[in-house]
């Protein structure tokens, strides 16, 4: 209705000579684009709302079944499990594809089906009293959901599968590291997760690059979104000096730690090697011009890979100075992403770089000053520091934002 009214007003303005015909045409085109963008935003909001709703419905179904579960016969339980899964995916297909017409609702049902698959695994395990040392159930959950992800090409399903993958990777690595022995248990966990995170970051970055320019191009964004947080998580975990102090005090020998250290590198190797291979392949395609990708962002993934390998080498060769290298990487990441954000006009990149820098400084502040100050003084000084830092950073953020806006204009 508003569009019709606007069209009438524009026609009046052209009739009485206020607007030239060419001007009227340009105004109509710009209004059309602006209104469509708003409609696009509405559509995204609806999709998010439906995604949240589907998660709640899946949880509700599970709760309802669980309440009466013990009274049901085994055959009935299995029929409910399989039937619910089939019904959810069937509804998703019918709504999104055939007959279709309700794409968002269809994806919501498919997402419910993906979530319900995890519940199905749990319920079958409950029926047969199954238990495993490693979290193979979570592995099956994300892995066997990949085909439906590829068919639907849904970002909501991708984010879910990605979250499950990260959950499984961390859990599985944790159980593996626990089983390696007690000598460097805490350091082992730090080492294992500190390397695993950037290793996975490299793999996801390579995957994002491989998806760009293909039918799965919509996956690149969410995959890339996970890369930077994982890339900095590793050095952040390894930037603390305290866990490695024992090596400064007592030294270390290759013979006593080789057996344990090698096992801690395995999760990292399993994550980074496929990532490096895929990244290498994508780089070769990119340089040969055979890649159809319009986004040629292989540089950043290689930098992340370099950082990850540097951490691994530091841990292997000289763990006593590992924290130095990790801190250097964090500061370099903050500076590098700030520069990249300004250069590409990406405010999100600049904000993330500022966050990394602040988190590193605050962590070091707590680490080195905590036992040198009385607790009260520590709180006061840290609080004052944060307020001052916030004031300075906000000023800096405004200046950068103004520069970015200027650059775009």
């Amino acid at each position: 209705m508003a569009r019709r009214r606007i069209a009438e007003v524009l026609a009046d303005l052209e009739r009485d000579g206020t607007l030239a015909p060419e001007q009227r045409r340009v105004v109509e085109e710009r209004l059309e684009a602006a209104l469509d963008a708003r409609a696009g935003a509405s559509s995204r909001f609806i999709a998010i709302l439906m995604t949240l709703g589907s998660v709640l419905v899946a949880a509700g179904i599970l709760y309802l079944l669980a309440y009466h579960w013990t009274d049901l016969a085994k055959g009935t339980k299995l029929a409910i499990v399989f039937g619910t899964l089939a019904a959810l995916h069937g509804a998703g297909f019918a709504l999104a594809v055939k007959p279709g017409g309700r794409a968002n609702l269809g994806i919501a049902f498919t997402l419910m089906g993906v979530l319900a698959f995890g519940a199905a695994i749990g319920l079958v395990a409950q029926i047969y009293n199954l238990h495993a040392h490693y979290p193979w159930a979570v592995c099956a959950w994300w892995l066997l959901s990949v085909p439906i992800l590829l068919v639907t090409r849904s970002r909501a399903v991708l984010v879910t599968v990605l979250a499950l993958f990260l959950l499984w990777a961390g859990w599985h690595a944790g159980v593996w590291i626990e089983g390696l022995g007690s000598h460097m248990y805490e350091r082992g966990l730090l080492a294992g997760f500190g390397l695993l995170a950037p290793g996975i970051a490299v793999f996801l970055a390579a995957l994002a690059q491989a998806c760009a320019g293909t039918r799965l191009a919509s996956f690149s964004g969410p995959l890339r979104g996970a890369v930077r947080p994982l890339a900095v998580l590793g050095p952040f975990l390894l930037a603390f000096r305290e866990p490695w102090k024992t090596y400064e005090q007592h030294g270390f020998s290759w013979e006593s730690r080789t057996d344990i250290a090698a096992g801690h590198f395995l999760p990292f190797a399993l994550a980074i090697v496929p990532g490096l291979l895929l990244l290498g392949w994508e780089t070769l395609r990119d340089r040969s011009g055979r890649s159809s990708s319009s986004d040629r962002g292989v540089v950043e993934p290689w930098i992340v890979a370099g950082g990850a390998l540097f951490l691994a080498a530091s841990l292997w060769v000289e763990p006593r100075s590992l924290f130095v290298g990790a801190n250097a990487l964090l500061l370099a990441a903050g500076i590098g992403w700030s520069w990249l954000g300004v250069r590409t006009g990406s405010a999100a990149t600049v904000y993330f770089a500022v966050f990394v820098f602040v988190a590193t400084v605050v962590a070091r502040y707590f680490e080195y000053l905590w036992d040198k100050l009385e607790g009260a003084f520590a709180f006061l000084s840290v609080g004052a520091l944060l307020v001052a830092a916030g004031f300075l950073l906000d000023n800096r953020r405004r200046a950068l934002k103004a520069r970015l806006a200027q650059g775009r204009a």
């Binding site: 013990t70 594809v97 009293n129 199954l130 238990h131 068919v151 089983g179």
Partner: protein, 186 residues
């Protein structure tokens, strides 16, 4: 390829995986040898999902130095095979090896905590028995301390060492009837 066929093919892996688990467990329960194993509760555990009773088996903690052949190098994460001997009231472990025994009843497990001296821990995947939300835990008294009851895990074992826990006996009585009596009006 038509989108409908793509959808169907995409749903094959999850349904096939669930179906395979169900078929495998049903086959184990119908064809496996019934073995009765002592439950020795030694560590309180919290339920993570659903409510279950921890039924750590006595044979989950074995002295490898006594049961493994000399020279056997078993490490954390190794698959091991525990040969069983029939007994009354419980079957007992007679040997542990990294090679599948050629005959007899044996359980396949994962060495999770290997110690050169003392008991090592082997995970057979049989340490949970799911109970109703309001069901009683026969391994514990009402005050939360360990109860003095004889708990027996009834397990079906295939000829490949795979096992499925089918019931827990509380002083010789199936759990369901023990639990029903516990809640019966007096």
């Amino acid at each position: 390829m038509k989108i409908a066929i793509q959808y169907l093919l995409a749903l094959v892996p999850p349904f096939a995986a669930l179906g395979w688990i169900v078929a495998r467990e049903e086959w184990t329960r119908s064809h496996g040898v019934e073995v009765r194993l002592e439950v020795r509760a030694y560590d309180p555990m919290d339920a993570l999902s659903g409510r279950y009773m921890a039924v750590p088996l006595a044979i989950s903690r074995l002295s490898l130095s006594e049961l493994a052949p000399p020279g056997t190098d078993i490490r954390n994460g190794d698959d091991v095979f525990v040969a069983l001997r029939p007994g009354d009231p419980f079957w007992t472990a007679v040997s542990v090896s990294k090679v599948e025994p050629g005959e007899g009843v044996f359980l396949r497990g994962l060495a999770t905590w290997v110690q050169s001296v003392g008991a090592s821990t082997i995970d057979f995947g049989l340490d949970r028995f799911y109970i109703p939300d309001q069901g009683g835990d026969p391994s514990r008294r009402d005050d939360g301390f360990l109860a003095d009851r004889r708990l027996t895990a009834v397990v079906r074992v295939t000829d490949t060492g795979r096992a499925s826990i089918v019931d827990v006996l509380v002083d010789g009585e199936p759990y369901a009837s023990w639990n029903a009596k516990r809640h019966a009006p007096r």
